[in-house]
C-alpha cells in the first residue's frame, strides 16, 4: 500500500501536459489530455489497450510529436524532438519490450550510447552503478550476459540505465506484464524507494490492482481521453476496495456527452435469425482460441459482446465471417447453414462483418473511395461487366452512397487513407449494408472516432436493427453496449461466461463478469 509516504507537498510539476492531442490516420489516439507529473509521486496511467497510453508516453519520450497542445517541462514549453533529447531533459523510459542487447554483458549494455570514439570506461561505470544501485537495494552483476538474466533483473538494469543518465522522471511502460508476482512486488518496492529519493515515476498499466497498490496518483485514460484522476489526498483517504470501485466507475462509467440509452424496439417476427452452435477455434501463437461459443440473435435484436480486449472477440468475428477456420461448430443464418462457405459465400448469404481494423484490413488506403466502397463486390455486375470495370456506373453508385451515408470526401477519386476515421467508417458501413444484408457483425465500431461520429455510428446500428436485421455488437466500451443492446454476453478467454439481459443493474453484472467475478 502506497499511503504512508510523506510527499514533498505542493512541489511544482516536473512535466505538465496541457490539452495534448495526437492523431493518426483515421484515429484520434489522444484527445486533449491534461496531465501533471510531480516529483516524489508514482503517477499511474491506467487504461485498456488502445486507450492511448502508449501514444502518450511516445510523446513524452520523444518518439512522436503531438499534433496539438503543449508539453511543459519545469514550467517552460518544450518540444521533445527525439529520444536522446528526452533523455537530456531527464526523462528516461523503460519500454514494455526489453531494449537491451542480449548477447552483450550488462556493463557493455550500460555503456552503449557513449561517444563512439572513446572506449567505454568500465571501472568508472562500475563505481557509478554501485553508487546508484546500492541505496536502492539492487544487486547488479555487471559481467553477466543479459541473456542470462531473468526478465525482472533485466528490467532493473534498464532502470539503472535510466538513472545513470540522471533521469528525474522515469516512465515504466507495462512494466509488470512479463514479471512473476514476486517480481511485481519487488518492482513496487523499488518504485517506492525511487520516489522517496525525489524521482517522479509514471507507471503505465491496464491492471486495476496494480494501480491501487502502487499509485500515489491515478489517471484513467479511455479511448484517448482522460476520464478521471484520483489525487494523492483522495487516494490516501480511501481503502483498497473503495478505490477499486472508484477506478472501475471511471473506466467503465458514463462520460459527459454520451448519448442516452435507447434500445430499439424488437421486430414483430421474433424467430432466431443468426444461430451459432458450439463454435470452436484453435488458439494460434498470438491469438486465443474460441471454446464452445453458442448464441442466437433474433430479427431486429442487438446482442452485445462485452469483455476485456484480446479475449477472443476478433477471433469470434473472423470465424463467423469465414476469415478464420473453425475447428467445429455451426453457423446458421435464416435457416441456411453457412458452414464450409468462404468469406464471399457468407457475404452472399447476408452475413456481413465490419472490421475494427479500418486501415489495416478494412480498406486499401491508396485506392480511391469509390473502389473501396465495392472492394467486396469486385467483378460483380453491374459495376463490372465481363470482368471489365464500368467506371461510370461505379462513380454514380459511389456518389449516391456518399450522399446517403453523408461521407465527406473531396471527391470519390480521393485515396481513402486521406479521410478521417469517421468518414472511413461510414464507407465501411455502407459497404457492409449493401443489398442482401441480414446479419451484421460490428467489431468495435466506434473505436478511435470523435464524439459526433461515435453517436452517428451508434444511431446507424440502432437503425439497422430496427429494419429487422440481426446485429452482433462487439465492444470494449460497456457504456456503448448498455446504450443499445437487448442482451449482453461477456467473453473471457475465448468463452462466453454469461449473458445478461440489458436493463436495471445490467452494468454491475456485466462489469463483474468482465473482471472475472461471478455475476
Amino acid at each position: 500500500m502506497a499511503t504512508t509516504v510523506k510527499h514533498p507537498q505542493g512541489s511544482p510539476a516536473i512535466v505538465k501536459l496541457e490539452g495534448v492531442t495526437k492523431r493518426f490516420p483515421g484515429i484520434v489516439a489522444n484527445d486533449r489530455v491534461d496531465l501533471e507529473i510531480h516529483p516524489g509521486e508514482v503517477h499511474v496511467l491506467l487504461g485498456e489497450n488502445g486507450a492511448g497510453k502508449s501514444t502518450l508516453i511516445g510523446m513524452l519520450s520523444g518518439l512522436q510529436q503531438p499534433d496539438g497542445g503543449r508539453i511543459l517541462i519545469d514550467g517552460a514549453e518544450v518540444a521533445i524532438r527525439s529520444p536522446s533529447h528526452a533523455l537530456s531533459l531527464g526523462i528516461g523510459t523503460v519500454f514494455q519490450h526489453n531494449m537491451l542487447v542480449p548477447t552483450l554483458t550488462v556493463a557493455q549494455n550500460l555503456a552503449l550510447g557513449g561517444r563512439w570514439w572513446e572506449s567505454p570506461k568500465i571501472s568508472e561505470l562500475a563505481d557509478r552503478v554501485a553508487q546508484i544501485a546500492q541505496p536502492l537495494g539492487i544487486d547488479i552483476n555487471l559481467d553477466a550476459r543479459v541473456s542470462e538474466l531473468s526478465l525482472g533483473e533485466q528490467q532493473q538494469v534498464e532502470i539503472v540505465r535510466a538513472l545513470l543518465r540522471d533521469s528525474r522522471l522515469l516512465i515504466l511502460d507495462e512494466a509488470t506484464s512479463m514479471l512473476t508476482p514476486k517480481g511485481i512486488a519487488e518492482l513496487g518496492a523499488l518504485m517506492r524507494r525511487l520516489v522517496e529519493r525525489g524521482l517522479a515515476i509514471v507507471f503505465i498499466t491496464h491492471k486495476l490492482g496494480e494501480a491501487a497498490d502502487f499509485g500515489d496518483r491515478v489517471s484513467v485514460l479511455k479511448l484517448g481521453r482522460k476520464v478521471g484522476e484520483i489525487s494523492p489526498e483522495r487516494l490516501r483517504s480511501l481503502d483498497r476496495t473503495a478505490l477499486v470501485d472508484e477506478i472501475v466507475a471511471m473506466m467503465f462509467g458514463r462520460e459527459a456527452g454520451d448519448d442516452a440509452v435507447s434500445i430499439p424496439p424488437r421486430a414483430a417476427n421474433d424467430d432466431a435469425l443468426l444461430e451459432v452452435r458450439d463454435l470452436h477455434v484453435s488458439p494460434t501463437g498470438d491469438a486465443p482460441g474460441l471454446d464452445a461459443i453458442s448464441f442466437t440473435i433474433g430479427h431486429g435484436e442487438i446482442l452485445g459482446i462485452a469483455g476485456i480486449d484480446g479475449n477472443g472477440q476478433k477471433q469470434l468475428a473472423e470465424a463467423l465471417a469465414g476469415q478464420r477456420a473453425a475447428e467445429r461448430g455451426s453457423v446458421v443464418l435464416a435457416g441456411q447453414t453457412l458452414d464450409g462457405l468462404d468469406v464471399g459465400g457468407r457475404r452472399q448469404k447476408g452475413l456481413r462483418y465490419l472490421t475494427d481494423d479500418r486501415l489495416g484490413e478494412g480498406t486499401v488506403g491508396s485506392f480511391p473511395v469509390s473502389i473501396n466502397y465495392f472492394l467486396k463486390q469486385v467483378g460483380e455486375p453491374p459495376l463490372w461487366r465481363s470482368g471489365v470495370e464500368q467506371r461510370g456506373e461505379i462513380g454514380k453508385r459511389a456518389e449516391e452512397l456518399n450522399r446517403q451515408y453523408d461521407v465527406r470526401t473531396p471527391s470519390i477519386a480521393t485515396p481513402i487513407g486521406r479521410l478521417s476515421g469517421g468518414n472511413i467508417q461510414k464507407v465501411l458501413i455502407a459497404r457492409e449494408l449493401a443489398e442482401g444484408a441480414r446479419a451484421v457483425i460490428f467489431n468495435k465500431p466506434t473505436y478511435g472516432l470523435d464524439l459526433a461520429n461515435t453517436l452517428a455510428t451508434r444511431q446507424r446500428i440502432r437503425d439497422i436493427a430496427s429494419q429487422g436485421l440481426a446485429v452482433l455488437l462487439i465492444s470494449t466500451d460497456l457504456e456503448e453496449l448498455l446504450s443499445m443492446c437487448h442482451r449482453i454476453a461477456v467473453i473471457s478467454q475465448g468463452r462466453l461466461v454469461g449473458t445478461v439481459p440489458n436493463g436495471e443493474g445490467a452494468a454491475e453484472r456485466v462489469g463483474r463478469l468482465m473482471i472475472g467475478l461471478a455475476a
Binding site: G322, Q323, D342, V343, G344, R347, Y353, T355, D357, G360, E361, G362, T363, V364, G365, S366, F367, I371, L375, K376, V378, G379, W384, G387, V388, E389, P410, S411
Partner: protein, 357 residues
Amino acid sequence: MRATTLDASAGQTLRQDIGRRMAITVGPILVSLVLAGCVLLAVGVNPVAYYGFVIERGLLSPLGLQQTLTRMAPLLFIAAGLIVAFRAGMWNLGGDGQFLLGAVTAAASAPLLVQVLPGWLALLTAFLMATIVATVWSLVPALLRAYQGVNEIITTLMMSFLGVSLANVLVKLVFLDPGTTVPQTRTLPVADRLPRLFDTTITSGLVFGLVAIVAVHLVMTRTAFGLKLRTVGANPRAAVHAGLSVPLLTVAVFAISAALIGMGGAIDIIGVQGNVRADWNPAYGMAVIPVVFLARMNGFAAIGFVFLLSVLSIGGESAARRLGVPQTFTLVLVSIVLITLAVAEYLDHRYQQARRA
C-alpha cells in the same frame, strides 16, 4: 502557391501536380547525366563524345534506330511480366532464368518444328512451349510464397541462378547442334523467323511486345482481375478480408509474370537470334527492373523507358567497341538515374511535409 481551396481549383492543382511530377523526373535524369559524365571523365573518356556517340548510334542513324526498336521486343515482354508481379506486390527477380529457359525451349523446338509444321504454326507452338516451361519454372517460388510464406525475393533469385545454369547445360548437352563445333543449339533459318516490319530490319516481335504490355496495363487498371491483384499487392490483409483467395492469386501472378518473361525469351529467339549459344545470358531481366520502377509500373510509361534503355544499350554496345567504355556502363547510368530519382522523391516529400506543417 498551393494556398488554394480544394474544390475551386482542382484543375489548377492537377496541372501543378503534373508539372511537379515532370520536374522531379526530368531534373534527376539531367543530374544523372552530369554525374555519369564525371565517372566517364575519371576514366579518361570525354563524356560529350560518349553521349553523342550513344545518341548517334542508338537513335539517329537509321540502322541504329532499327536495332534499338528490335531490341525493345524482348524487353517489352519482360517489362510486362514484371509489371504484373510488382503491382501485385510480388518481387519476381527471377527474370533471367525464366527468360533463358524460354529462349532455350524456343531455340530447341523451333528449328525442328519448322520442318514438319507450317511456318506460323511451328513458331506459335515453339512460343507456347517456351511460355509453359517458364511458367512451370516459377511454380516453386510461387507455391512456397503462397502456402508457406517463403520470401519470393530469395527464392526467385535462387531459381534464377539454377535456371540460367540449367539453360546452359541444356544447350551444351541436350540441344547441341551436331552440325557445328561451337556449342549452340540448331539455328532457325532467317527465312523461317518472324517477319520483319516493312522494308526494315525491325522484327515484328516489337508489335507483339507492344500488344503484350498495353494488354497488361489495361488488365491491371481496368479489370476486376487486375484490381484483385492490385489489392493483394497494396494490402494483403484487406484482400483476405474481402474474401479473395490470396494463395491462388499469388500463384496466378507468378505464372503470368513468368509466362510473359518466357515469351520475351521466345520472341528474341524466333524473331532475332535464331539460336542460343552456350553461356549466352544478356541479363535483360535485371536491366528491366529499374526501368519498371522508373515507369512507376505504368505500362505506357514503361514503353518510353524501355525505348530509352534500348537506345542506351545499343548505343552503349557501339561505344564500347569504339571508345573502350565497358558495355556495362549503361547499367551504371541507369542505376545513377534510379538513385537520383529516389533522392528527388525523398526531397520532394520532405518539402511537401514542411510546407503542410
